[in-house]
Structures are given as structure tokens and as C-alpha cells.
Amino acid sequence: MAGGMSRLFRGETTINFYGRRNVGFIASALLLVVTVGSLFSQGLNLGIDFKGGVAFEVPVAGTMSEAKAKEILVANKIKTDNVKIQTLTSGTTKRVRIQLGDLPVTTRTTIQESLAKSANATVNDVSVSTVSSTWGRNITTKAIKALLIFFLIVSLFIAWRFEWRMALSAIIAMVHDVGISVGVYSVFKLEVTPATVVAFLTILGFSLYDTIVVFDKVHDNNERFSGSKVSYGDIVNVSMNEVLMRSLNTSIAALLPVLSLLVLGSGVFGAIALREFALALLVGLATGAYSSIYIASPLLGILKERSDQHRPMRGHLSIGVDMAHLMHTGAPVGRRAAARAATDASQGIIPAPVAVEALLSHPPRPRKKSRR
């Protein structure tokens, strides 16, 4: 069991995330370009809750029913995924209400006629009215304002709890996640519903949460390595490898229910309404986990490497065995360390031979006899 999986399981990977940061940056930049391009060329497919649309009301008579109404819509080549069909009851009279997005006038008339026909009624008995959005403009305005204030307060909190560079990186990563999720919606022309917005907000929260957990590790390691000459890139690398398992586990735990909703809920059980919600979450959660490691942390590394404290070691990375050494002992190896050892030797300081055991692990405290 000495393969890659096993090392991953024990948190012994030595992947050079920071050194390969450009891979993530380029990939994300491409995706964001696609997003912006798509937003400009085709925009977002806003659902009836945002745009409003048309509402038909038909008395229930003849062959009229909710299922029949759906049939008529399908016959007119209208996607029924997000159409709301409801029965209104008032006393003994029943009416079917059909709400859907905007329609060309001809289609509207055709549908009106078909509905009237199946309800054995005249065209005038089928009322057609335009409906406003349930999600009005002022809800959007308020939400955006709230979001900006949220960004501000969260930045201040992170800056206070950790430092401002972390705040900046976290916010950029969060914007990146939402950007890519929106891009997926735009490129594939998925319909945006209020549930989608809620899903995007969930993504935001998850992305931020994930980033904080990763940064907490970086913060710890920064303190741990504060005494030794280690570049910030190394600190980021060590931290990434240490939290890698946790990040993977959390992502798997978060993705499993979403996948289940997507595959079982909307696929096998046929609850179509779940599909787009689950899809938004799936994309977002995956992006959130990715961005904490490939966007937020490298960004932090770049920012920190330019700070006074870390500038001298900038660009120096311990990779492979050196990184493992660094992770386990908290002391760097490599040319500089070797050079230092050489200076020590020339001055007559001979380091005592150290057992590999002692180097590699923090010795356990001897077990005390159990107290009762």
C-alpha cells in the first residue's frame, strides 16, 4: 500500500501546487473569458420569476385538466420544465392557471384557442394576462447591495482574524467561483430561477468557508515556520498538501448528496425541478473546492512573497523529498541549508549525528500512567 492513494490517505503527498500555479490561473482565466463572452453575446436565460410572462386561465370543463394543459403546451413546442400549472378553486368553480414566459402573439392565440377548445368554451372564456415578475427589481437591488456589504464585512473580518492579503485572495476566489457558475448557466442557456440564485449564494458561502479552512492552515504554518528560512511558496505548498485530504473529503461529502439529487432525484425519480438547482450546486461546489487550492492560495502566495518578511526567500521552492522533510521537521533542506551547514563546518561546528527517526517525527510524549 505504498501507492499514491495510500500517501494521499496519510497526508504524505508532496505536490508542488504553488510552482504550478499558472496552470490554474490560465485555466480559470480561459473560463472567465468564456463567461464574459457568453454573457455579452447571449446573456442569461432568465425565468418567469424574473422576467414575468403570460398567464392563461381556463375554466375546468370538458377535457380540461392540468395534464391536458401540459399536452397543449408540448404540442406547441414549449418546454414545460419551468411552466407553472395550477388549479384554482373558489367555491365550486375550478380554473386551471398556466404561467409561462413571454410568447409571440401567434403562439399565444393558438394556445388560447386550443385551451378553449378542450374546455368546450369560447376563446373569450380563456383569460390571458401579462404577469409581472415575482422577483422584482427591488429584490435584486437589495440583494446586490447586501452582497457588497457582506463582502466588505467579511473582508474586514478576515483581515482582522488573519490578514488583509488573505481577505483579498478569498474575495477574488469567491468572485471567480460565482463568475464561473454564472458562465455555465449562460453558456448552456439554463433557465435562471430564484432557486438558482439561492444555489449561487450557497456556492458563495461554501467557497468562502473552504477558503477560510485552507487559510487557517496556512496561517498556522506561517507561525510554525516563522523561525526558519522558508519561502512563502513553501509554506503554501506544505499547507496545501496538509489540507488536501480534508479538502477532498469535504468536497466528496458535499458533492455526494448533490449528485444523488441530480442523478437519482431528477434522473431516476423524474423530479425535473430539481435538476437545474442540483446542477448549479454541483458546478459551484466543485469550483469552490478547486478555487481554494488553485486560486486563493497561490494568489495569497504571490501577494505574500512580495512582503518584506518573505522577499529574501522569494522564488525558492522545496519540492519532492525536500518538501516532505520540511513538512515533517519544520526545517528546510537544500542548497541554502547545505551552504549554512558548510559554513558551520568551516567554523568548526560539527552537527551531532541525528537519527532519521528523530528528524522525521515529533517525538511522542512518554505515556503517563493513567490517572483516575
Partner: protein, 514 residues
């Protein structure tokens, strides 16, 4: 130490179980949203021509009333000029009407008399002794004398002098059946007078006729801190419909004559006296009115909002109610719940595979937080009209996956320590301490997000923020009061210190470096 851990564990389990049972006994259960079980649909048609801006304020008022804490998820649609409010889970039509109430028509009436509100006494006995005559006619002549001649009718005469006068006209046409009838036959009160309860103070107010509406103020009343207390500042509109009207009323009340002996002006919304401030100066020349009193912050904000609402009212015809069926139906819910549960089961299997026996703690923790959330949701369903939509239900299922993170963070720290050669018993307390800091930092950020979004938004975003906050709090509570004692106690048992409980043993050096 052990005793305290056991105590904490027992307490949290009892709390979760207790609230769950209490809700079960009380018959509270989560109610379902419009998409899943339908509800009542109320159609409200405004009377006469309506300013679109005023209509959207009316929609805001309705939303506020229907969905005060943001979890009811009603659908509020403007269909042309009519407003359709779909209330989830409401089967009783009268209940639907009561929930929506009337619109925020704010009136100002002089206070004639104030009395305790005795629970069993009818209102007529309270006011029987008063002999005050009211010059109701004077107020109606002030604005739009043409309209007072008409008896109550559903059609509104065209506004004679701007929005303000039309609103007053609407009030007077409905309350004055004939021009000279001095006594209302129903209540036995002199014409125009009425008795209304205070909203919170338990008093009954005998009030003169409405002499002004909320429209005397502009739409930017605010609650402010002044000299250490909360006050409400409202700006008067200038001109006949605003400052003049208000000053006429305040001058009269300041004088304390027979038609305003208490010197107080009652501010009324939906038949309740919100506040009855005493007038301190006869006229308000700088166009600004400050209402002070021993307000709490909420009371002040409430009053400010009432005044904002009153500034642009819309009068609606008698609403019609219909029941509306579910747009998705129970099948979707069953699909969501079933696939969600399978998802959670998969998560647990994964954790069991990965963390072996420690996964028991996750099962316990998720059960405790599940019970707590269920209780809160059931209770809010009963008290605040909370209704779970399909996406809401799916969101809660998804949040379980995210909640698992706290355990993962904690267990990974434990694993690190065990790998370095510590015993589980030795590393449990230390590991939790470190994990708790991480959990606290990450959860604080989530909480900030929840509070900001809840505070500043409406509609489904507000509902989202509410549930985010709720599940984050549950996560923190369960982490500290359940997971910590559970793991610390388990770590002391022999079972958990034998062999590779976490799936790891002390690292072999050769592997670590290779």
C-alpha cells in the same frame, strides 16, 4: 472533567430530543411551500388609477406583513394592476385574508380619551360617558368638498388635488353615509368617532375623525438616535396635502380644545393605534416632525416603517380568495427527500470507510442537529408561516454535506497526531482545540453572511440567509456540545485505543520520506 463531558452530552441529546417531542406533541410539523402543497391565492385590485411606484410600496407592505421573518416564501405577483398574493399552506380563506390584512393606510386622528382595555368589557361601555361633540364636517371640507356629498361607492372620484386628497376622499366616502347624520347607528358614537385598540400598550383609544393620512409625510421617515434615546424623524410634504394639513391638526391638538382634549395625535395602521404622541408645538415650520418617547430600537424602526408605508398608500377593493393547487406536487418532494437521504447515506458510508469507528460520532451529531433543525422549522411553520419549497428542502439536504466538514477538519487533525505517534486519547483534546479555532473562524464568516443577507434582503434570498444562519448555529452548537464530549469520551475507551481505529497508525519513516 469526565463528568462535565457526560453532562454536556446528555444535555444536548435531551435538548434535541425534548424539543423534538414537544413539537411532536403540539402537532407542529414543517409545512410545505406553494410548489409542493399549494395554498390560497388572494387577488387584490386597486381602486381607481394607481401610481406604479405606490403599488410597489403596497407590495412591499404586503410582503412585510405576510413574511415578516423571511421564511414563508409567498409568491407576490403583479398581474397588470392587480396584485396576486399566493400564500403557501393556507387552506382557510378567511385566514388568508386576515394574514394579508388591509393595506397600510395610515391615518392621523386626534385622541379624545384613553382607557384601559378591559378584556371582557365591550367597547361601548367605555365610551358611553363621553359627551364630546366632534366637528367632523370641518375636516372633510378641508380637502375635496365635492366628494363628501357622495355616499359610499366603489368607484372613486378622480383626484381633486393630487394623491393626498383622493385618499382622504376614499376614507370619508366610506365612513359618512349621509351629510348630516350625527350619530352612527351601529356604535352609538358621534359621527366620525371610533374606538381603536393600541397595538401593544393594552389601551383603548377614543378617537376623533381622521384628519390626515400618512401622506402628509414624505416617504423617508427614519429611526434615529437623539440624546441617547430612539426617536422617529419624519419629513412633511410641503403644500396643502402635507404640512398644511398636519399643522392644522397639530395646532388644534396643541390647543387642547374639546376636539382634542388629550393633546395627542394617534397614528393608526390597520385599525390599531401604533403610537399616540403628544403634540409639543403648535406648528412644525421647518417641515420636520420628531416623535420621541421611550422607544426601543425595534419600536422606533417599526413606527418609521409605518410612516413610510403610509406615505404612499394604495386602496384595494375587497380581495377575492381562491385555493390554488401545488405546481409540482408531492412526487417531487418524495423524489427530493428520497434521493437526499440516499445521498446522506452515501456520505455516512464514505465517512465510515474513511474514519472507521469515529463515523459513529458523525451519525450521532447529524441526528442531534437534524432533530434541532426539525424542531425549529416545525415551530416556525406554526408561528411564522414558514413553508418549505422544493429547493428549500433540497438546500437543507445539501447543507448536511457541508456540515460534515466540521467533523472532517477535526478528524484530520486527530489523524495527523495519531500518525505522529500520539495516542488517540492524548490527541483528542488538543485536536479539538485546534479544529475548534478553524471551525469558529469559518462559521463566523458564514454567520456574518447570513446576518447581512437576512437584514438587507427580501424574498427567497432572505429565506436562504435564515436557513444558512440556522444551520451554521446548529453546526457550532453540535460541534462544541456534542462532537467534542463524544470524541473525548470515546477516546478514553479501550476500543478506540486499540490498533488502527482511524485507519492510520504511526507513520513509518521509510514511507514518509519516499
Amino acid at each position: 472533567m469526565t463528568r462535565r463531558l457526560v453532562l454536556s452530552l446528555v444535555a444536548i441529546v435531551l435538548l434535541a430530543g425534548g424539543t423534538f417531542t414537544a413539537n411532536l406533541v403540539a402537532g407542529n410539523h414543517p409545512s410545505l411551500g406553494l410548489d409542493l402543497q399549494g395554498g390560497a391565492s388572494v387577488t387584490m385590485t386597486p381602486v381607481g388609477e394607481v401610481d406604479p411606484a405606490a403599488l410597489s410600496v403596497a407590495v412591499d407592505i404586503i410582503r412585510q406583513r405576510v413574511d415578516s421573518i423571511g421564511v414563508a416564501e409567498p409568491e407576490i405577483i403583479r398581474q397588470g394592476n392587480t396584485v396576486v398574493v399566493n400564500l403557501p399552506g393556507v387552506k382557510d380563506q378567511q385566514q388568508a385574508l386576515d394574514t394579508i390584512g388591509r393595506t397600510g393606510a395610515v391615518e392621523m386622528r386626534p385622541v379624545l380619551k384613553v382607557a384601559e382595555n378591559p378584556d371582557n368589557t365591550t367597547t361601548t361601555t367605555v365610551v358611553g360617558g363621553t359627551t364630546t361633540t366632534v366637528k367632523g364636517a370641518t375636516t372633510t371640507t378641508v380637502k375635496g368638498a365635492t366628494t363628501t356629498q357622495k355616499p359610499a361607492s366603489t368607484t372613486l372620484p378622480p383626484p381633486a388635488g393630487g394623491v393626498g386628497s383622493s385618499r382622504i376622499a376614499a376614507v370619508t366616502t366610506t365612513t359618512i353615509p349621509a351629510t348630516t347624520a350625527p350619530v352612527d347607528p351601529l356604535t352609538g358614537l358621534p359621527e366620525g368617532q371610533t374606538v381603536l385598540p393600541g397595538r401593544k400598550d393594552g389601551l383603548l383609544y377614543l378617537l376623533g375623525p381622521a384628519e390626515a393620512t400618512g401622506e402628509v409625510f414624505s416617504n423617508d421617515s427614519s429611526a434615529q438616535v437623539d440624546a441617547g434615546g430612539w426617536v422617529v424623524v419624519a419629513k412633511l410634504r410641503s403644500g396643502a396635502g402635507g404640512a398644511d394639513l398636519w399643522n392644522a391638526l397639530s395646532t388644534k391638538c396643541y390647543a387642547g380644545g374639546a376636539d382634542c382634549p388629550t393633546k395627542a395625535i394617534a397614528i393608526i395602521l390597520d385599525g390599531e393605534v401604533i403610537s399616540a404622541p403628544t403634540v409639543q408645538t403648535p406648528t412644525f415650520d421647518n417641515g420636520s416632525v420628531q416623535i420621541s418617547g421611550s422607544f426601543s430600537q425595534t419600536e422606533a424602526k417599526d413606527l418609521a416603517r409605518v410612516l413610510q408605508f403610509g406615505a404612499v398608500p394604495v386602496k384595494f377593493d375587497t380581495p377575492t380568495v381562491q385555493t390554488v393547487s401545488a405546481s409540482l406536487g408531492k412526487d417531487s418532494l418524495h423524489a427530493a427527500v428520497l434521493s437526499g437521504l440516499i445521498g446522506v447515506l452515501l456520505v455516512l458510508l464514505f465517512l465510515l470507510f474513511y474514519y472507521r469507528l469515529l463515523a459513529i460520532v458523525v451519525v450521532g451529531g447529524l441526528s442531534v442537529s437534524g432533530l434541532l433543525l426539525w424542531s425549529v422549522i416545525s415551530w416556525l411553520s406554526k408561528t411564522n408561516g414558514l413553508a418549505l419549497t422544493l429547493s428549500g428542502a433540497a438546500g437543507i439536504i445539501v447543507s448536511i454535506g457541508v456540515t460534515v466538514d466540521s467533523y472532517v477538519v477535526f478528524f484530520e487533525k486527530l489523524k495527523d497526531d495519531v500518525q505522529q505517534g500520539r495516542t488517540l486519547r492524548n490527541s483528542a483534546a488538543r485536536g479539538f482545540e485546534r479544529a475548534w479555532r478553524t471551525i469558529l473562524a469559518a462559521d463566523t464568516v458564514s454567520l456574518i453572511g447570513a446576518v447581512v443577507l437576512w437584514w438587507l434582503t427580501v424574498g427567497s434570498v432572505r429565506g436562504f440567509a435564515f436557513f444558512l444562519g440556522l444551520s451554521t448555529m446548529a453546526d457550532m452548537i453540535v460541534s462544541y456540545f456534542f462532537t467534542r464530549p463524544a470524541v473525548l469520551l470515546l477516546a478514553k475507551t479501550k476500543l478506540f485505543n486499540r490498533g488502527r481505529v482511524l485507519g492510520v497508525a504511526k507513520a513509518k519513516i521509510s514511507e514518509a520520506v519516499a
